[in-house]
Amino acid sequence: MIQGKHIAVSGIECICAAGLNLKDCVDSMFSNIRNVATPSGFSSNHKTVYPVFEIPGSSPFLQNPQIFKTGQLALEAAHGAVKKAGLDKKNLQQKRVGVCIGTTVGSSLNNEKFYQEYRSGKDPDMAPIKRFLRSNPADLIAREYNLSGPCQTIVNACSSGTDAIGIGASWIQAGICDVVIAGGADELCRVTYNGFISLLIVDSSPCRPFDVSRAGLNLGEGAAIFVLESEKSLTERKIAPSAFICGYGSSSDAYHLTAPKPDGAGLKRAITDALEESGVFASDIAFVNAHGTGTENNDRVESMVLDLMLNGVPFHSTKGYTGHTLGASGAIEAAFTSAFLVAGKIPSSIGFSKKDPELHSSPQAENKQIDGNFAISESLAFGGNNSVLVIGRGSEPL
């Protein structure tokens, strides 16, 4: 890996069950609030109800029936981030701007009503198909701002958001773009709800990452967008960065479709590569925002690797506040990490109260002050990809 530059971030916005903007999310997490409830946006005939972290469908930015909820979330987060960066459609036109967004549901053609009618030999209404074709999240953002740079939707399951930010940063590094709008978005839906439940990895209670009694994940939805910007562009605009993307590492377990490799080899390599690219040492890392889904396997492997590679570094999972937001999770957690660095503290790893004697390390049970300029946000995906970001502290409040 070549040691890269630290890529500046000029704006970040985040929407999830914890809050409709990054500040509200952060305040809510420091108050240890969990907005978890029975799903209301869809119904299911499972005997058990599995709680989810849902964004109210009545939210004003979710009223466009022409595009997926995922797309609406991505656009809303993009609007917020671009505005915070002090940019608008007009000045973005003067720059070479790329878009790199991670998602799962946003790229899925799986409308049940359409398919049910199709199966029964009818000619279904094509509206759901047209909606899908209109809803590619990177395309939506590119069209919203009339952008002309490269456009990429990453569908890497749970590491999509992390990967999108890492790859977007590399486009800035390479001089391909002056600005990259990067992040992730995903919505709750029946297909992923039923799918994850079928894997027996969903908790019927609010999730308990790293806890001895953990019983699986809860699903969530949301979006987070970063405006990544070249040094030259930022200097011209005289803007101070709100964070830095210092390093990105990614590596495959090459082990199993749904289970992480027990020895955590892929995650170890990804952390090593991210640190190497950033030029930051493990001892400089103030805290780690873990993937911490609350499943038996993930938490076991992750705590083992963190203990080995970042021994003594406080870590937490924020999925107790947001649920697992799939393609959005890496971006949402990177947004949180950026905000916590500026705030100088991290919220508790909510849902954790009792140590698992079989785990090598445990997360922060209480809110904690932290000191330092760098943190790690990591994601372990279905399919065995492990992606890690080293994030640097900015000077602007978030």
């Binding site: 079928s198 027996l200 199993h256």
Partner: protein, 107 residues
């Protein structure tokens, strides 16, 4: 009279046990079919699975954790028996025999 009752009783006993035996054999055959079809075991025939062989941790069948959760769904679908979590499944899934016994108890 007593002899007739005894013989009648024995016939009743053996017929029921025989029917029960047939039913249990049929259950095991059905289970083997469900495993082969539901888990996409293309190169194994149902009758090749032995009643007492280990279903998991067995290299010849090559089943893993993803197969285990699929089997939970298949059992629910074909036999109407719920397996609430993977720990419960681990006990039931040791072999065709244990699985048949598990289903029998719950049907």
């Amino acid at each position: 009279m007593f002899n007739i009752c005894l013989i009648a009783g024995l016939i009743y006993f053996y017929t029921n046990n025989y029917s029960y035996g047939i039913w249990k054999m049929a259950l095991k055959e059905d289970l083997k079919k469900v495993i082969v079809e539901g888990l996409f075991l293309e190169d194994i025939k149902p009758e090749e699975i032995k009643d007492d062989e280990l279903l998991f941790g067995n290299e010849s069948l090559g089943l893993d954790s993803l197969d285990a959760v699929e089997l939970v769904v298949q059992i629910q679908k074909h036999f109407g028996v719920e397996i609430k979590n993977i720990e419960e499944g681990t006990v039931a899934f040791q072999s065709i025999n244990t699985l048949a016994a598990f289903i029998e108890e719950r049907q």
